[in-house]
């Protein structure tokens, strides 16, 4: 018995010391994710020794063990570039949608298909190549950083030294495929980022909350992905199921009511804040009172493009094609050193530390498809539309990057137009700066009608903002919304203390206060005057 007590005392002592130490060190906070050790060392596999003539030969080697992987990939949106929207019935995906950047992927292969998770998709009028060996394993599973899908080769890396960017004199060397194959591993931020950070034709151009600064971000930029924070890979949240990645921009989970995902109870997809943080994440009850109407991101992503990489906010294609006196393309730059005009692409405006646009959103996004007639007399045209409204319990206020610009449309058919901007032919916009020719070629290429008459329409496009979450102390203050100059001014449907009010109530109220004060002052003055009279 005495022994037991002694043991207990020792235990308490140790716990106390640990507790004190913990207090000294600070609260545990966020620790980097620990990864289980791999069960295979790929450098020990004979089939990965090479030599490989092409990347697809590496895929063949992979598939000898990972027999189901190619089939799984080919069932995903990453492969098909098609997305059947269950709510709207629209068929979306890169194969179908038009955006306000370079228009459509169709008519711009092989530049666009350089980001396809496969090899050799040169004609998007056809489905991607059928062979299992056309699947690209390395773009997601390379850990060396040496594997790079060359921008103009429809998904392949270059196999000979090749200049990029064109005219820069910088040569890209062929990758060491055996070394890359022997060092494959789980996906990391740089893998996903090699495509998703560069959407729209360059670093940070498209999303605003996804750019190369997230490869190794500071805690203040992204507390989850920072090596000093959670060091999350993308797939820690975008959890996968047989190579199918969760989290969609076409059908966003705008309000995750499942809360923390517990095995056996929920779907285990973690692509929402609530998947880990639950539905009542704040210590202060009043903050938890906000989660039914506000997406986490609305307060916790105070601004996007914060990592030093600008994002495009305005892209006016109508001014493209101006050449200098020597008929050479020109480039101009703004005060911040960001490109503001290119003969190939027209006028741009870039932004950093951009305050998002806010809107009610239930997660469903509808697109203006390329063959859809729209009202050409009421610009700007919404390239995509956000569903959601204040009284819908499934909607919350979300932050968006609002991309604006001007892009070509058919004045007779009243439809948007696919543009042929890239191509090693004499018709692409970037080779001859001739819009009619490029539009005609795009029409011939895709089979989409073009009357020959076109103009430029101002357009808007919404991109949900969800990444670049800083530590909680950098979240928006109450006064960012609860003030006269509220970020949510004009959002509608909610009474926001500190911002909303009733003009007449205020007028009458302050008038009553002023009259009372005046009455009191007059009465007091009269007392003084009468007293003096009496005394004198």
């Amino acid at each position: 018995m005495a022994k037991l007590t002694k043991a207990h005392t020792a235990t308490y002592l140790v716990i106390s010391i640990l507790a004190v130490l913990l207090m000294l060190v600070g609260s545990p906070g966020m620790a980097a994710v620990e990864r289980a050790p791999a069960t295979a060392d790929h450098s020990k596999f004979k089939s990965l020794k090479g030599p490989f003539e092409s990347a697809s030969q590496v895929t063949e080697a992979c598939l000898r063990c990972h027999t189901e992987a190619a089939g799984q990939i080919k069932a995903t949106t990453h492969w098909t570039w098609l997305y059947q929207h269950e709510e709207t019935g629209q068929t979306l995906g890169k194969n179908k949608v038009i955006n306000s950047f370079c228009g459509m992927a169709v008519t711009n292969e092989p530049r666009c298909t350089s980001c396809h998770v496969g090899y050799g998709w040169k004609d998007m009028n056809q489905p991607p190549p059928e062979a299992d060996s056309a699947v690209d394993c390395l773009v997601c599973h390379d850990t060396t950083g040496d594997y790079w899908k060359f921008p103009t080769l429809a998904g392949d890396p270059t196999y000979v030294p090749r200049e990029w960017p064109k005219g820069s004199g910088k040569m890209v060397q062929p990758p060491d495929l055996p070394d890359i194959a022997q060092n494959v591993g789980a996906t990391g931020r740089a893998n996903c980022g090699s495509c998703h950070f560069y959407g729209g034709g360059g670093d940070g151009v498209k999303h605003g909350d996804l750019d190369s600064s997230l490869v190794s971000p500071a805690r203040s930029l992204d507390v989850h992905m920072s090596p000093d924070g959670g060091n999350f890979s993308c797939s820690d949240c975008h959890s996968t199921w047989g190579h199918s990645v969760s989290g969609s921009r076409y059908q966003v989970n705008a309000k995750d009511t499942l809360g923390i995902d517990i095995p056996g109870h929920t779907d285990l997809s973690r692509a929402s804040c609530e998947s880990c943080h639950g539905g009542e994440p704040h210590g202060r009850e009043k903050l938890n009172d906000h989660v039914n109407k506000l997406a986490c991101q609305t307060c916790h992503v105070p601004a996007f493009a914060r990592g030093g990489v600008p994002t495009k906010m305005w892209w006016d294609w109508s001014t493209a094609g101006k050449l200098d006196e020597n008929s050479k393309p020109v480039a101009t730059y703004d005060d911040a050193g960001h490109v503001s005009y290119l003969s190939e692409k027209g006028d741009f405006r870039h932004g950093e530390n951009v305050v998002p646009y806010y809107a009610w959103f239930d997660g469903t996004v509808e697109y203006t498809m390329v063959d859809e007639q729209f009202d050409i007399d009421n610009p700007p045209l919404e390239i995509n539309r956000l569903d959601g409204e204040p009284n819908d319990p499934g909607s919350r206020i979300w932050p968006f990057k609002l991309m604006r610009g001007k892009q070509p449309f058919d004045t007779e058919h009243k439809t948007l137009l696919a543009t042929h901007v890239f191509g090693a032919d004499d018709s692409s916009l970037w080779s001859n700066y001739d819009w009619p020719k490029a539009l005609k070629f795009a029409s011939d290429m895709s089979g989409m009608p073009f009357s020959g008459n076109f103009d430029f329409m101002e357009t808007k496009m919404y991109w949900p903002i969800t990444h670049m979450v800083p530590p909680a102390d950098q979240a928006l203050r109450c006064g960012s919304c609860h003030s006269g100059e509220s970020r949510l001014a004009g959002i509608g449907g909610i009474y926001m203390p500190g911002h909303s009010g009733n003009l007449w109530l205020d007028r009458i109220g302050w008038l009553a206060v002023a009259l009372t004060l005046a009455g009191v002052v007059l009465h007091g003055l009269a007392r003084v005057v009468f007293r003096r009279r009496k005394q004198s």
Partner: protein, 201 residues
Amino acid sequence: MSRVLIFKRFERFWHWFQALLIFSLLITGFEIHGSYSLLGFGDATRLHTIGAWSLIVLWLFAIFWHITTGEWRQYVPTRDGLFAVVHYYLIGTFTGAEHPYRKTSKAKHNPLQRLAYLFFKLVISPIIWVSGLLYLFYNDWPALLAGALNLETVALVHTAAAFAMLVFIIAHVYMTTMGQTLTSHIKPMVTGYEDLDEPAG
């Protein structure tokens, strides 16, 4: 003339603590309303909530005290002498007339005071409490209530009551200066005692 205890210890504590709370609630409340920026919305809200709960607790004690001591009778309205008091404040005070009301410890408020305080206690304050609690627990409204009422209505009623409170305070503070001397009305609320034409005990 004798020195009479008019305001007992609890009464004075209640009055001054209530005054402090109401001033803090007005200052933070109108900031929350967006009239100016002083502490920042977050801190203003936190202080306002703490102040509100404190005032509610204080009121529970005060209600208990009013009932158990029978002091609630001090607020029963009467028309008897009301006109004379109003006449005094409008005219008599300038002509040098005597205040028509004779205070006793059993009837320490004149008829106008009785009306004003009763209005404060039975109209302004309850409206502020009910609308304030609805405001605070907006997210927990039962479905039936949520269907019939919205936050905007609650907020506007709360704001209107706050304006009424502010008007009351201004008038109340001014009228405390209308005793024989500027502070003779205020003194008993501090010391508890006043010299009255009433036999002691």
